[in-house]
């Protein structure tokens, strides 16, 4: 049973190498590109007038936040989860619930959602100390089904698993911004914060601990890393990100929904697709992946004459193909290509 043992000889995914290389100070070109992307992203809802398009990109940003969370866990720490939509659901539920029952404003619910999800993530991380690899995937798969089922059973009123805050409470509090722009800029701001946070984590001692645990658990222990604490931290961070994504989804979708356990499972897989396609263990990869997944999910039915199953077919196949041919995802592949081009004379 070779695969049940920790693959001690397994090389790290190739994407890990470029990540550590980027630590060597920011260069000007990168800063310029970053500023241009930021400006374009911020200007987007003011330039594009179509509400549906802005909404789609906004949901893509939210998907990206969730994927960045999963990336901390799966990409950097090597703990696979196919149930992170559970935290997304918890986050959405907390926000909707606090808005309805406690009359909080949307933004005021976010700290609660993030904190509670971090605690929930740490709790889920506990079994992960004993359960590894595919078995962990199985446990998290259970989580993706369990959470919406329980929310549906114990959190719904009269069998309806939809929580809708008053629409007016989700409207833009800033006069200068339309509702559409507000519902885009808030997720964008959240994404920027999450991006900076992730960058700092990954490039810190804690981040190197995550990577060490992924690459060689035993060696990490001997290097003085507390493997248990590191894994639990990774779970907490990833769950907090996904919870934030769930809360933001209430802002854009106007509701928290726990009616379909299978939808949660699918969402969890989509997070994974976003991570793998964008670039496992890269900071920006999941953003790219999240946007791609969301756009594909919304547009594929249109392209294929409303065929049921086209979007999951493309995404599922993309997951297989990318994992197979481009283990570093789009961003990892791009970096490899760049490295090859710059190295040759």
């Amino acid at each position: 049973m070779s695969a049940t043992e920790t693959p001690s000889t397994a090389p790290a995914p190739e994407a890990a190498i470029p990540t550590s290389r980027t630590t060597s100070g920011p260069d000007l070109a990168k800063i310029v590109i970053g500023v241009v992307i930021m400006a374009a992203a911020a200007a987007f809802p003011f330039v594009v007038d179509d509400t549906a398009t802005v909404r789609m990109v906004s949901l893509g940003l939210i998907m990206a936040i969730g994927a960045m969370g999963l990336n901390v866990l799966t990409g950097y720490t090597g703990q696979i989860s196919i149930g992170h939509a559970a935290f997304y659901g918890i986050g959405a539920y907390i926000t909707a619930n606090l808005m309805i029952e406690q009359k909080l404003t949307f933004l005021a619910t976010l700290p609660f959602s993030v904190l509670i999800c971090a605690v929930a993530g740490a709790l889920v991380g506990l079994p992960a100390l004993r359960v590894k690899g595919p078995a962990l995937a199985l446990v998290t798969l259970g989580l993706a089904i369990l959470v919406p089922t329980l929310l549906h059973k114990f959190g719904s009123s009269g069998g309806v698993a939809l929580w809708k805050p008053k629409r007016s409470h989700l409207n833009s509090p800033v006069d200068a911004l339309t509702n559409t722009q507000w519902k885009y800029l808030v997720p964008l701001a959240a994404l920027v914060i999450v991006y900076v946070l992730t960058r700092n984590i990954v490039h810190s001692r804690a981040g190197r601990a995550l990577i060490a645990v992924r690459d060689q658990e035993v060696a990490a222990t001997t290097a003085g890393i507390n493997v248990a604490a590191t894994k639990i931290t990774a779970f907490a961070i990833s769950a907090a990100y996904c919870g934030l994504a769930g809360s933001l989804s209430v802002l854009v979708r106007g509701q928290a929904d726990a009616s379909s356990a299978l939808a949660y499972f699918q969402m969890s897989i989509y997070f994974l697709v976003a991570v793998v396609v964008g670039g496992t263990a890269t900071i920006a990869g999941p953003i790219l992946g999240g946007l791609l997944v969301q756009i594909l999910d919304e547009k594929a039915p249109d392209w294929s004459g409303n065929k049921v199953g086209m979007a999951p077919f493309i995404l599922g196949t993309a997951l297989v193909v990318i994992a197979y041919f481009l283990p570093g995802g789009i961003l990892g592949g791009y970096r490899q290509l760049k490295a090859k081009l710059t190295r040759s004379p």
Partner: protein
């Protein structure tokens, strides 16, 4: 306590459990040979079920079932050869998990693309019954359906054949050798790759039979049939021990009966039976990862 109600629930549980047992058996065979959880096992069985249904339009169901299972054997072996093995060779343990998850999603979607659910209205997906499974047998006032009896018989035949194959043939010896230690098997000249393909093929064929039988139980089946069953089957495989075929079958029945009894007698799980297998997976993996019949894996550093 109402004996009739209790017995009825036990029989219900056995009726469900035989399906869980069959799918769990497939999961365990893959795990034994390749050390992987095939998350796509349920959807592979679903695809086999639809193919068999298509075949049954033009041939008797018995023949369609045999052809369907044979095609599934080939399909399963191909998946191992073309997707799983090259990925394993890259030495990325997450990669193979991701591949089976990708297959899960894309196979389910592929079925919907080939056999659109909207078409079911004009031509419902109704599996012909491979055996006369109407009616019930009365035992102490409780009813045991013929379907369950037939399904159990077929599962037992499968187990007997599997036992004969594994324990009494040269091929079976090689299969067991590969399951036990791939490196050593290579050294004694066993074609490990072929054995892995056979393992995946066998699992796919067993899944196909399970899928067809489960589909024939109801008047109509649809593409989501296997998704929840997969959770139960994984629970059974975990409980029985992921490397024990016997454990998978026994645990399949235990999970089925436990579910039926829990729904009846524990109010908290009323309406959410899926909680039962999920909690079971959780606790078994946490406290006894080797299950009831499995071997304990000692980790070498």
């Amino acid at each position: 306590m109402d004996v009739e109600l209790f017995l009825n629930q036990v029989f219900n549980g056995i009726g469900n459990g035989v399906g869980y047992a069959a799918v769990a058996l497939a999961i365990v065979i893959v795990f034994r040979t390749t050390g992987l959880f095939n998350f796509a096992q349920g959807e592979m069985a679903m695809l086999s079920t639809f193919v068999t249904w298509q075949l049954s339009e033009s041939m008797p169901i018995g023949l369609a079932l045999v052809v369907g299972a044979a095609l599934s054997f080939v399909g399963g072996a191909l998946v191992e050869r073309t997707l799983i093995r090259p990925m394993e060779a890259k030495g990325n343990p997450l990669g193979t998990v991701i591949i089976t998850i990708g297959l899960f999603i894309s196979m389910n979607a592929l079925i919907q693309l080939i056999w659109p659910p909207s078409k079911a209205q004009s031509n419902p997906f109704s599996m012909p019954k491979p055996f006369p499974n109407r009616g019930t047998v009365e035992i102490f006032g409780a009813h045991l359906s013929w379907f369950t009896i037939w399904f159990v018989i077929i599962l037992l035949i499968e187990c007997a054949l599997l036992y004969l194959l594994l324990q009494k043939t040269k091929l079976g010896l090689s299969l067991r050798a590969v399951a036990s230690n791939q490196e050593s098997s290579k050294l004694v000249g066993i074609d490990v790759g072929k054995m892995l393909m056979i393992g995946w093929g066998l699992a796919a064929a067993i899944g196909a039979v399970a899928g067809v039988l489960l589909a024939s139980r109801t008047n109509q089946f649809d593409v989501s049939m296997m998704q929840f069953i997969l959770a139960y089957a994984f629970a059974a495989a975990a409980l029985g021990g992921f490397d024990s075929p016997l454990g998978a079958v026994v645990a399949g029945f235990i999970v089925g009966v436990a579910e039926a009894l829990a729904i009846t007698y524990i109010d908290a799980v009323d309406g959410i039976p899926i909680v039962v297998p999920l909690l079971l997976i959780f606790f078994v993996l946490l406290f006894r990862p080797e299950g009831m019949f499995g071997r304990k894996v000692v980790e070498r550093v």
